[in-house]
Subunit: 143 residues, 2 copies
C-alpha cells in the first residue's frame, strides 16, 4: 500500500498554493522547481486538480494557480481523493453490493476499520492545520 507519485506531488503542490494564498497566482514552473518535480508532469496534475474545482487557474503571462477556497476550508481528503479516490482499501467497504460475500465477510470488517482510520485523519485536517503545525515545529527548532 503505497501512495502514487501523483498524489504526493498533488499534495505538495496544493500545500505550496496554501502557503502562497493571498499573494496571487503561483506558476507550475515555480512549484515544480521548488519541489523538484517535472514541470510537464505537474502540469497534468494541476489540470486534474483544477477539473475537480479544488484550484483555479489564470491563463497567460503572470498567470498560474490559486486555491479555489482558503486553506482552512480545504480538507486533506479533498486533495487525496482526486487521485486515490474515496476508497482507501477495498470497494466492498463502500459498496456492499460489490461482492455477494460482503455481509458475512469478516475480512471486510478489517478493511472497514482501516479505511475509517485513514479517512478520519484526512477529513479532520485542513491545509491550514498542516501549515500551522509546520510553523510550530520550525519555531521549536529555533529555541
Amino acid at each position: 500500500m503505497k501512495l502514487s507519485t501523483r498524489t504526493r506531488y498533488a499534495m505538495r503542490a496544493v500545500l505550496e498554493l496554501a502557503n502562497n494564498y493571498g499573494n496571487g497566482p503561483l506558476q507550475t514552473r515555480i512549484i515544480a522547481r521548488n519541489q523538484d518535480i517535472s514541470t510537464k508532469y505537474l502540469e497534468q496534475i494541476m489540470a486534474a486538480l483544477k477539473s475537480t474545482g479544488l484550484i483555479r487557474s489564470q491563463r497567460g503571462a503572470k498567470g498560474g494557480y490559486i486555491l479555489a477556497n482558503p486553506p482552512e476550508k480545504i480538507k486533506l481528503s479533498d486533495v487525496f481523493d482526486v487521485f486515490e479516490g474515496p476508497v482507501v482499501t477495498v470497494e466492498c467497504v463502500a459498496d456492499e453490493k460489490y461482492c455477494k460475500r460482503a455481509p458475512d465477510c469478516i475480512a471486510r470488517q478489517v478493511w472497514s476499520e482501516v479505511q475509517r482510520a485513514v479517512r478520519n485523519v484526512l477529513q479532520s485536517t485542513t491545509l491550514q492545520d498542516v501549515i500551522d503545525k509546520a510553523k510550530v515545529t520550525k519555531s521549536d527548532y529555533q529555541i
Copy 2:
C-alpha cells in the same frame, strides 16, 4: 490507494486458518473453494505467508496449513506486512534519509499521520479479535 488482491486473499486465508485453529491442517484447495479464490494463485500466496514464518505447512496427503501461533498472538499487521510492507504511505516516513527534503517537508507530516493511523489499527488487532467481533455481530442478528 487500494489493497492488492494478494493482501486481501492472504487476510481471508489467514482468517480461515484462525477459525480452524486446533483442528489440524487446512488445505489450500478448501480455502480456495470457501473463499472463491484461484487455487493455484492461492498456493503462491500461502508459500509467501509461510516464508515469513506466519504459517506452517504439512506436506503430502492430509497435509495443509496451520497458523504458526495461536490467533490471539497474531496481529493483523503481521499479515498485512507480508505483501504491503511496513510502509503504508511513502518511504520517507520510515526513512528520513530517503529524501533530502524530508526534514522540512510538510507533506511528509501528513503521510506520517496517515501511516500512524493505519498501523495503529493493524497492530492493535489480532486475528482472534476479528473472529470474536464477527461472532458478536452474528448473535446480534439472531436476537
